[in-house]
Amino acid sequence: MDKKKIVEVKDISMTYHTFNGETEAIKDISFDVYEGEIVGIVGPSGCGKSTLLSIIAGLIKPSIGEVLVNGKNVTKPSKDIGYMFQRDQLFEWRTILQNVLLGLEIQGSIDRKTMEKAEKLLETYGLGDFKNSYPRQLSGGMRQRAALIRTLMVEPNLLLLDEPFSALDYQTRLAISDEIGLILKKEKKTALLVTHDISEAISLSDRIIVLTKRPARIKDIIKPELTCPDGVWSPIKCREAPEFRYYFNKIWKELDVHV
């Protein structure tokens, strides 16, 4: 790989302490993410996927190990990193435009140029007519798109997506994951996508990190080679690739789910 490393995760372990004892959430995890890649992280539920993302975001500190983003040690949240949550977390009392500008407002960098950019992004991604609407007037898919634009506005070069589609119904989820995948590629963003949806991970990711049960370790790193129909990359199209089933079964077996 001669591409630039955006994220370097080095031997991270994380232990949670509560009054009743301690729980090992993550153990000895190391991996790198290169520029322009979308890396999926899948693992059994409750295995510490979100914890891993929070550590990379600088929201919590690992017990052991360190994370470098753009070569710099992560100790606190930085404006190079954008985070998307399970639910859109739009502020109900703000209009869509005001919501989208939230990050810039915090960083005190709203000016004519950034305003124009916000309007342009809303326009490009089909929310132009809704910029003065309140979140409750929008559908779940549109809200999640607005949340993505809010993240993109602060121009992070790394996006952390924490199951960003899981609160949506199935059809919306397919459509919006396709759209967001295309947006990420178009804006040339590097992204880490935590999900419990195997198909979503395969269709969106350049590489997939499979984690074990708690304490989470890396079980496997898979690089899906999909021949997408028509030779055009699009997450939803790539689900039709003949290799799709193979990767699905492979990950399913590795997750080793017992109910």
């Binding site: 929070s54 975001a57 404006k79 990193i81 985070y83 949550f85 502020f91």
Partner: protein
């Protein structure tokens, strides 16, 4: 949606809703009117002793007399003044303390049992102490009014501050927000509906404080009129004061509702 032709059935449906609304209003007004008429008739026919029950016509006469002489507005003005200062200060100070508790988890936990006990205590029991400490005048009455509303304000606001979705705060943190920005951008706006409902409750609570305070020490105000009327057995005066009090409370409540609709337009 209004451009579509309206079906026969829909017109009937709307008609039914309108009828129902009108019937509710008619019933509401009737209760008041019939009640007043019965009261008046019962007093005139000596079914009840109007010396201890008074009656609407005497109350009305007394009202006109007080209004003409102007001292009605004096008394009402003083009480409203005490009440407004009481609930505005009670709510404002309560919010400030709640912000303090939100800021410091340590102190929130330390003060928790005190808050619980203060909340359970009937604050009017403190009124004599307050009046001795602060003074037997407006200030004592206002402080009593504040005392009645402040504790419940602190508790309600604190609960509301704490109910902000953790992820919303984490979102701001990923943008690099300071604690003050978290407070300003999410915690306070999130709690505006609670602030307004607290304000509504506080108007009533503050009136409790004002009336109790006036019972104890005042030389003017609606509470004073009630106590004075009771002492000289002038039930017309007591009843009139109570009616005026009810009317003012209703108006203030309505005022807050209008404010609520203005502030919470995103919630429609």
């Amino acid at each position: 949606m209004y451009n579509k032709p309206v079906s026969e059935e829909h017109i009937k449906y709307l008609e039914r809703i309108r009828m129902r609304r009108r019937n509710i209003l008619i019933a509401q007004v009737s209760i008041l009117v019939v009640g007043l008429i019965l009261w008046e008739v019962a007093a005139r026919l000596k079914w009840i002793d109007s010396f201890i029950t008074s009656n609407p016509s005497s109350i009305w006469k007394l009202f006109l007399e007080y209004a003409r002489k102007g001292n009605l507005f004096y008394h009402v003005g003083i009480s409203v003044f005490e009440n407004v200062i009481g609930f505005v200060a009670g709510t404002g100070l309560g919010i400030l303390v709640a912000i303090g508790l939100w800021w410091s988890d340590f102190w929130a936990r330390v003060l928790d049992p005190y808050m619980v006990i203060l909340n359970a205590l009937p604050k009017t029991a403190l009124a004599p102490i307050i009046i001795i400490w602060v003074g037997a005048g407006y200030s004592g009455i206002i402080v009593t009014a504040i005392t009645v509303s402040i504790v419940v304000t602190i508790l309600n606001m604190f609960i509301s501050f704490k109910s902000v979705d953790e992820d919303k705060i984490r979102l701001l943190n990923t943008f690099g927000a300071t604690k003050f920005q978290v407070l300003k951008k999410v915690v306070l706006p999130h709690s505006i509906p609670t602030m307004i409902s607290t304000l509504k409750v506080n108007i009533g609570l503050s009136w409790v404080g004002v009336i109790v305070g006036e019972f104890l020490v005042s030389k003017a105000g609606i509470g004073y009129l009630i106590v004075y009327g009771g002492q000289v057995f002038k039930l017309d005066l007591v009843m009139m004061s109570v009616f005026i009090l009810a009317l003012i409370c209703a108006l203030m409540y309505k005022g807050i509702s209008i404010l609520e609709n203005k502030v919470l337009k995103w919630n429609e």
